[in-house]
Subunit: 80 residues, 2 copies
């Protein structure tokens, strides 16, 4: 079972990497860019046939290692 964990900065947390990308896009002639936020996507291939159980375990992994819940939110979804 594959589970995708998407980790993004919470609203209001400064995102310097996003700001840098936004600036670069303006320079590259994309003036329509208003804001850029950057996150991580972690694809887990788990030896677990049950989708609900796989997602539950992925949430434990996100809380324990993948996301810093002080400044980041995460969501999980089954890929296949």
């Amino acid at each position: 079972m594959k589970v995708r964990v998407t980790v993004s900065l919470k609203e209001g947390v400064l995102d310097p990497q996003g700001k840098a990308i936004g600036h670069a896009l303006h320079v590259l002639d994309f003036p329509e860019v208003r804001e850029v936020r950057v996150g991580k996507v972690i694809e887990l291939d788990l030896d677990e046939a049950d989708a609900a159980r796989a997602q539950e375990r992925a949430i434990e992994m996100a809380k324990g290692l993948l996301a810093n819940q002080v400044i980041e939110d995460f969501r999980t979804e089954i890929v296949q």
Copy 2:
């Protein structure tokens, strides 16, 4: 219009960050983890009301800056 660009390493490209996370998850007692791949997700807020045009521009941005197409694939999707 918001567009999400997800950038991931092509199949076969070594992912040391994914390997490190996989190892850490094993140590943290998640033995069911078989493989981990890490990618980026870039959320673009564009001053563009037309969804098709926004997605087209996001693809240009991905090709021009956000993804290194030698080693990375990307996909775009409209968020709202």
